[in-house]
């Protein structure tokens, strides 16, 4: 009997031993994956390539600069549907929400930092603030795209009734999504967040142009005010962006091809760099009208377009635009660049009737875009002509950077957009975007409505 007690004790001891050491045994740090714990982790988080390529690559397909001569008659691909401004770009629900999800993915990543940075270990308080400011700026930039895609063009009179997109701040996938905010609320958040971020942002982003900086913040503000129609503030912010950071337009005149253009990550004329998905690997098909509008000597044609032929541009689909250049080099910047700021100041100047300033700003851009020998400064005293020149210059300089659709939208709100047609390979009209069309405000994707059936859909 004594012997048995002894054994039982041994067994109990053995089992207790196993369980005492149990938590220690299970607490192993996995390899290859990690949790975000330190300030440094969050710093690396902002180097994420997903953030750098956050913009949807098919944004360009909405614009009047894009052609698609090989479009099939039954619109099988998402691109076909985007190109013809269908109410829904993807019908399958739930699933991918074209355009929409690109923005919200970036917002999720920024929210991750905004949510967790205060509890991060290591680093200084200043570093924490700096990273949070960068994330606030990045998130504001994404909302600027969203509010202009899914909300009406900013109109101070109706902005607080016009529905835009939900303002998401949670990172828990089980949290419900908030309701749609108004256009006004979204703009308020954009401006508020950027303004709050400016004091903590770093003075420059020379090491990685995709990261936030004071100049980048003013640059995004300039674009924001421009889209809101607040031209004075747009001009002021653009100037602040130039004053606080890169202000030299990259000179194309000495370049043989795009190989000479440095990589976007360290390029001197990029205030706040961004790319549209994987578009940087590919090309776009310009419409013949857009190609024909170029001056033949325009260096942008030479550097970024292939198969220019004799510049008569008669065959649709033959001449293509390449994001990395006709002979690959530096990518075109979808974010904020020095030239865009100059053109924003120019536009504001025209609208303020300061045509001289407008032409000077135009000159600052254009003289880097034409061969020195043949370059002539543009000048005109006709306000409308200067305005058209500024807008045309925006088209050439910002071609295929995802911005043209937003320009079309605000021009349409001013009643300045003509009818835009889409043609199939036979030249038949297959889609029309009329002035004032509801299509300028995209429908909320069905994949989103699927989960939020209570939302009001944008009118067709």
């Amino acid at each position: 009997m004594k012997r048995n007690t002894h054994h039982q004790f041994a067994i109990i001891a053995l089992f207790s031993l196993v369980f005492i050491s149990c938590n220690k045994y299970l607490d192993v740090t996995p390899k290859g994956v990690q949790m975000l714990r330190t300030v440094r982790d969050y710093d690396l988080w902002l180097n994420n390539t997903d953030l750098e390529t956050s913009l949807p690559s098919n944004l360009n397909l909405l614009s009047d600069q894009s052609d698609k001569p090989a479009i099939s008659s039954i619109l099988t691909t998402t691109d076909d549907r985007v190109y013809t401004w269908q109410a829904q770009f993807i019908e399958e629900a739930p699933g991918n929400a074209a355009l929409w999800q690109n923005y919200y993915k970036a917002i999720y990543l920024y929210n991750t930092l905004i949510t967790g940075i205060d509890a991060a270990t290591g680093g200084t308080e200043q570093e924490r603030k700096k990273l949070k400011a960068e994330a606030l700026l990045g998130r504001a930039f994404e909302y600027l795209g969203l509010v202009n895609l899914y909300g009406k063009s900013y109109n101070p009179a109706t902005a607080s009734q016009d529905l835009a997109v939900p303002f998401v701040t949670s990172i828990d996938v089980t949290e419900p999504v908030p309701d749609r905010s108004t256009v006004q609320q979204i703009y308020d958040r954009i401006i508020g967040d950027i303004t709050a971020a400016i004091p903590d942002l770093p003075a420059n982003n020379n090491i990685n142009r995709f990261r936030g900086s004071v100049s980048g913040a003013y640059g995004v503000l300039a674009r924001t005010y421009l889209y809101m129609g607040n031209y004075a503030k747009a001009s002021e912010s653009a100037q602040l962006a130039l004053n606080n950071g890169p202000n030299i337009i990259l000179d194309y005149t000495p370049l043989a091809d795009a190989k000479g253009i440095p990589h976007l990550i360290k390029r001197s004329d990029a205030i706040y760099a961004r790319l549209g998905g994987l578009s940087y690997l590919g090309s776009e098909t310009p419409t013949l009208a857009f190609l024909k509008s170029f001056e033949k000597t325009d260096l942008r044609l030479k550097l970024y377009y292939r198969l220019l032929g004799d510049f008569s541009f008669t065959e649709r689909g033959r001449t293509t635009f390449w994001h990395a250049g006709a002979i690959a080099g530096g990518y075109i910047n979808w974010g904020i660049s020095v030239a865009e700021m100059r053109l924003a100041i120019a536009e504001a100047a025209v609208r303020a009737n300061d045509l001289t300033k407008a032409c000077d700003e135009l000159d600052a851009v254009r003289k880097k875009r034409f061969p020195i020998a043949s370059y002539q400064k543009y000048s005109s005293t006709d306000k409308e002509q200067v305005f058209q020149k500024v807008m045309a210059e925006r088209n050439y300089e910002l071609a295929y950077t995802g911005t043209r659709w937003f320009d079309m939208k605000r021009l349409d709100a001013e009643g300045r957009m003509p009818v835009v047609n889409r043609y199939n390979g036979l030249g038949e009209v297959i889609a029309t975007l009329s002035p004032g069309s509801n299509k300028y405000t995209l429908q909320i994707p069905v994949q989103v409505m699927y989960y939020n059936s209570g939302w009001k859909q944008n009118p067709l």
């Binding site: 196993v18 390539t49 399958e92 991918n96 990685n208 939020n452």
Partner: protein
């Protein structure tokens, strides 16, 4: 004296305890007859025992009274035990009572007792009827009423026992043999001889059945006490066929509820599941347990020749003890064990042959080449000139590749060749079929040889079983093969009465070699692989470039970019070398009183090295070098060095489990017994791998050259010459992978049984793992089960049902789960390099924060019965309901949340089904045996809930029919399939379907959603039946196995003239108005963009039900023959088997999934011969 001599003569051996026989003999010879002493006066003996053998009685007397005994051991041993209750009795009294009624007498000589057969008087008058009486009792001594007693040779029953089991029989002779028969008991024959009282003890046949235990890997539970659904396949059933290399095939259609089908795939895996699919994201495979421990090693490491039995645990009662990993069921493999005795040696050798493909019997159109050429000509008529411009353009040439007919057209259009020349080339293409050339160059008869040698034997205290096996396979593609060598040893040691140990070691080395062989469907029918001189020719597939552009870049100094399959066979080699090791040890210490402890562990490692070597002449290297070649100012810059390419992957799995377990097995009182185990386990699984790639490599000099990865992996690098060539990925070339899982578990299993009639079981297990990282609340989740069983046949009311030998009902309820990895309540990140810089580190999102992540739960209810009727039919019937909820699925979520998909526990699946197993021994005689095994399983699954349906309510019809979105569709079975109803074509050649009212319309007109399609069932068979028959005639047997898979749908390829090898009828498409009247006409080519819709019509979707004759085996054994006796062998057996002999499908196309490809119209059989030798 006579007695002793007689005894010696008759082989009597002295049961001498102290004194040797020789000494005793002398004494006896001298004093015989002079010194007869009455023993009764000298000693007294006490024996009180209800069941004591005579041998024991004699031993007792010897011990207590000091008498020696002489008797014929063989005779005494056969006698039944006696019941004695004597206190202080004399030796003679004890002997008198012990031998009462026995055909023996005794004589006491001095201190010795000699037992001899009673001399039967030969003068007994035969005419006097003999009266026999006696009692028939069962093993427990209880009288059995109603036992039939017959006299051998007479047909009518002589008598029956009364209610006390007593009988009286008159009119028999001494020579007669009495036969005692009672249902459920072994028949007993007794020769009457001189006996007049014949008491018989019958043995229950079920007593053998009772010995059947279910091995859960943790313990052995008696079948009569088990409450769970478990099926056992024993050696005879498993070993009737020839098992060569794959142990699973031998289980197909043999165990109700276990679905094995290598011919049907779901989600890319062939079917291997128990009781349906009850998880979406988790592993769907059952857990495999060998030697009591789960294995992480590949199933190929299991040598089928070593298998003794396979137990499949299907419900929670049986498998809850495995915790969260058991929701798909458990397969417990017991391996052959050594028997006490001298070394026995077994040798098995098999040879399997599978003939080459016979392309003549494929469903390809005989005019396939012509159809493909015509198709290309028809569709590219207008674009030929453009094609020529594009394919010769520096910028566009590398991405514009066209099939050979288009190349001819382009040349003609550009005036490079004349029309006559073009027509000649077209005719050449149209007349050629490369199937024969393909078969000659790339295929061979597949052959597998296996050798298996085992040694086993040992003593009670040390048993060993050692197996060596080797198998060598040539696969059906030339230069593709593998071989395997395995060695395993099992050792059972008993150190003392209480302390024993078991040690199992397994080693397996396998090597496989292969070379790239294109699939025949990668080749257009008209493509030649070699020219007249045997030189390799390029093919379209994989060339990534048109031949004209290729010539141009070659003239610049780049490599030939074309794909030459015949050359690659000699330029590329793939080798995999795997070493598996497994060691299991178990120590068992018996504490007595039904208590013992087990300490055991298993350690497994698997290392595999994969080596891919491509020479400079291989297509792969040529294309890679071209891909990264740039034009520099001083000529070409080769960013990738010329020379061989070597890519290697080293992967290893390492796991251990350590287990400590206490077993308590005791009959507590007369009617109560308890079997209790509890224990704990520690388990760790580590998976590691790394890979490397070397360029400019020479396998002779081992030299390699550096590569400028910074340049070529920079996103800014754009290839100028070969845009369609595959790129290399630095991350893919040099990858490190490391995954570690740890588990801690505690478990308990209790089986309580009352009067052997009722049993209750309960089990529980708690698993904790590191998978849930920081949140301890998610680590804890017990799995449990409870069950009850009732052996009804032991109840009085059923005992008079003679045809029921055994009948048991049981029911069990339980819960187990499944693990979710890589999802946490917080964001999980993964390190990487910023691809725009390649130096900046970054962290990217791996998994979003999910605060409600938890374990999957599967509730399992099983009701079943086991029966044995008419003595020779056994089986079981089970019905189950499995409800899996909180299933983790990588679900699409609201895109507004910022992610496409998240792992969310919101789905539920219900599986229910019926299983019937039956085994009948129709004839069981010495020279003739016939038995049948039958299995029926039905599984019905229904998705009760998916977190979000893949399909919107009121969705368009194509959402159901195309794109495979319905695998998990709420309200339907797992793998649901929907069909359009094909209605031919309209007058323009466009496809028509029937709407719900039977009116024909185009696909896209008035879409009525679900009404436009029919639900035609799942893609997974709902019914599986197996029927096996074995007939033994003497030493010969035949075994046949039929499989039935039913209740599912299969898709067949659409008839499409654009594919490389058009099927018969692919040319039958609408060409001109009026064609729509032709029966079975296909839509006009211009509507090819509706091919996905066509694929979803009932024309190309069939009822998949099919039957196969899986195995036909014949065997002849020389057991017992003179030849064997002379050669010293104990057995020699020759078997021949044909597998996959025949199949028939229940659809109009007679397409059986067993054939695997619709293109093929016949089943390729495998023929196997085997030789078994035992020493």
């Amino acid at each position: 004296m006579y007695e002793i001599l007689h005894a010696i003569k008759h082989g009597m051996k002295p049961y001498a305890f102290k004194i040797l026989l020789t000494m005793k003999l002398t004494t006896l010879l001298i004093f015989f007859g002079l010194l007869q002493v009455n023993a009764s006066s000298r000693a007294q003996v006490t024996i009180t025992n209800k069941r004591i053998t005579l041998e024991m009685v004699f031993k007792e007397i010897q011990k207590q009274a000091g008498y020696d005994f002489f008797y014929n051991n063989d005779l005494i041993r056969k006698l039944p035990p006696v019941s004695l209750n004597l206190k202080n009795a004399s030796v003679t009294a004890v002997l008198d009572q012990s031998l009462a009624g026995q055909p023996f007498q005794y004589k006491v000589i001095n201190n010795s007792v000699v037992i001899t057969a009673r001399i039967i008087s030969a003068t007994v008058d035969k005419d006097v009827p003999v009266r026999i009486e006696g009692t028939v009792k069962d093993e427990k001594g209880k009288p059995i009423p109603g036992v039939t007693i017959m006299v051998k040779g007479r047909t009518a029953a002589a008598t029956k026992t009364d209610k006390d089991g007593h009988y009286v029989l008159m009119g028999v002779d001494d020579e007669d043999t009495l036969i005692f028969r009672y249902l459920g008991y072994a028949i007993k024959e007794v020769v009457i001889g001189s006996k007049r009282i014949i008491d018989v003890r019958l043995e229950q046949i079920e007593s053998k059945l009772d010995e059947v235990t279910i091995s859960t890997g943790y313990q052995q539970i008696k079948l009569e006490q088990s409450t769970g659904a478990a099926s056992v396949i024993n050696l005879k059933e498993y070993d009737s066929r020839i098992n060569t290399t794959d142990f699973l095939t031998g289980l197909q259609s043999k165990i109700p509820g276990l679905l094995i089908n290598n011919d049907i795939e779901f989600e890319g895996n062939s079917l291997f599941q128990i009781r349906g699919i009850s998880t979406i994201n988790g592993s769907k495979q059952p857990l495999i347990v060998i030697d009591g421990y789960p294995t992480e090693l590949s199933l190929a490491t299991i040598n089928p020749n070593e298998i003794e039995s396979v137990t499949v645990l299907k419900d929670a009662a049986a498998s809850a003890i495995y915790g969260v990993r058991a929701s798909n069921g458990v397969i417990v493999i017991e391996r052959k064990k050594a028997k006490v005795g001298k070394t026995s040696i077994g040798f098995r050798s098999t040879l399997s042959l599978t003939p080459k493909e016979n392309y003549e019997r494929y469903r390809w159109d005989k005019e396939g080449a012509d159809i493909a050429v015509n198709y290309a000509r028809e569709t590219n008529g207008t674009s030929a000139l453009v094609s020529w411009i594009l394919m010769n353009n520096v910028v566009a040439g590398s991405i514009n590749t066209f099939t050979p007919p288009v190349n001819i057209m382009a040349q003609q259009a550009a005036g490079v060749i004349t029309k006559a020349e073009a027509d000649k080339q077209f005719a050449e293409l149209g007349n050629y079929d490369n199937a024969a050339e393909y078969g000659r160059l790339f295929l061979q008869t597949a052959a597998t040889q296996t050798y298996n040698l085992d040694f086993s034997g040992g003593t009670e205290n040390a048993l060993y079983y050692i197996t060596a096996n080797y198998s060598d396979s040539d696969l059906s593609q030339v230069k593709n093969g593998n071989n395997r060598f395995g060695l395993s040893g099992r050792l059972n040691l008993k150190f003392s009465k209480r302390f024993s140990m078991e040690l199992n070691t397994n080693f397996q080395e396998s090597k496989s070699n292969s070379v790239p062989i294109p699939k025949i469907n990668n080749l257009y029918t008209y493509e030649r692989l070699q020219d007249e001189n045997g030189n390799a020719l390029p093919i379209f597939y994989g060339s990534n470039m048109n031949p004209f552009y290729n010539k141009m870049i070659m003239s610049l100094g780049l490599f030939d970019n074309m794909n030459y399959p015949v050359r690659d066979m000699n330029e590329v080699s793939d080798q995999t070398h795997t070493i598996n090791n497994r060691v299991t040890t178990n120590f068992r210490y018996d504490l007595g009183k039904g208590l013992n402890i087990n300490l055991g562990a298993v350690y497994e490692t698997a290392r595999s090295d994969t080596r891919h070597l491509a020479s400079e002449n291989s297509t792969q290297v040529r294309q890679l070098v071209n891909r990264y070649t740039e034009s520099g100012t001083n000529g070409l810059i080769y960013n990738l060095p010329k020379g061989g390419y070597l890519s290697q992957i080293a992967a290893s799995t390492e796991s251990y489990t350590v287990r400590a377990q206490v077993n308590y097995n005791k009959r507590i009182a007369e009617d109560h017994s308890l079997n209790l185990i509890f224990g704990s386990e520690v388990r760790r699984v580590l998976n590691k791998s790394n890979s490397s790639g070397n360029f400019g490599y020479s396998d002779e000099t081992l030299l390699q050259r550096p590569v400028n990865y910074i340049t070529i992996q920079n996103t800014a690098f754009v290839t100028p010459y070969a845009k369609s060539n595959p790129a290399i990925s630095y991350d893919g070339l040099f990858a490190q992978n490391y995954e570690e899982d740890r588990f801690l578990s505690a478990y308990l299993n209790a089986v309580y049984s009352f009067k052997n009639k009722y049993s209750l079981t309960a089990s529980t297990r708690i698993d904790q793992s590191n998978l849930f990282g920081s949140d301890p609340k998610n680590r804890y989740k017990p799995a449990w089960s409870i069950g009850a069983g009732w052996n009804i046949e032991r109840e009085k009311f059923i005992q008079n049902q003679e045809w029921i030998n055994s009948f048991k009902i049981r029911s069990a309820l339980g819960f187990n789960g499944n693990v979710a990895k890589n999802a946490l309540p917080e964001v999980i990140a993964k390190a990487g390099l910023n691809q725009f810089d390649n130096t900046q580190a970054m962290l990217s999102l791996l998994s979003p924060a999910n605060s409600r992540i938890r374990w999957e739960q599967t509730y399992n209810l099983n009701m079943g019965m086991d029966y044995r009727i008419f003595k020779n039919i056994t089986g079981n019937i089970d019905y189950y309901i499995k409800r899996s909820k909180e299933l983790l699925a990588s679900n699409l979520v609201d895109p507004t949340k910022g992610i496409n998909a998240a792992i969310i526990n919101e789905s539920a699946i219900r599986n229910n089904g019926l299983e019937i197993g039956l085994h009948a021994d129709w004839i069981r005689r010495r020279a003739l045996n016939w038995n049948t095994g039958f299995v029926f399983s039905h599984n019905k699954s229904k998705i009760l809930k998916v977190y979000n349906a893949n399909i919107l309510p009121n969705a368009r019809s194509f959402m159901y029919a195309t794109g495979g979105r319905t695998s998990y569709l709420e309200g339907y079975a797992v793998g649901a399939i929907f069909n359009y109803r094909y209605a031919g074509v309209d007058s323009k050649g466009e496809a028509l379907i029937y709407d719900k009212d039977g009116n024909a319309k185009n696909f896209y007109v008035n879409d009525a959603g679900l009404d436009d399609v029919d639900y035609v069932g799942p893609s997974i068979p709902a019914y599986n039946l197996g029927l096996s028959n074995r007939v033994d005639i003497g030493n010969f047997y035949v075994y046949a196995m039929l499989n039935y898979f039913g209740g599912f749908s299969v898709k067949i390829p659409i008839l499409d003239p654009s594919v490389t090898r058009p099927l018969k009828g692919a040319g039958n498409y609408w060409k001109v108005a009026g064609d729509e009247a032709i029966q079975g006409i296909l839509p006009a080519l211009k509507y090819r963009n509706y091919n996905n819709y066509m694929q979803a019509t009932d024309r190309f979707n069939l009822n998949g039900t099919y039957i196969t004759l899986g195995d036909l085996t014949a065997a002849y054994s020389l057991r017992g023959s003179q030849f064997l006796k002379k050669s010293g062998l104990s057995n020699l057996e020759i078997r021949a088997q044909a597998s996959n002999l025949y199949t028939v499908a229940m659809n109009k196309e007679n397409y059986s999934a067993a054939i695997r490809s619709y293109e093929k119209s016949y089943l390729t059989p495998t023929y196997t011969m085997s030789l078994h030798v035992n020493f």
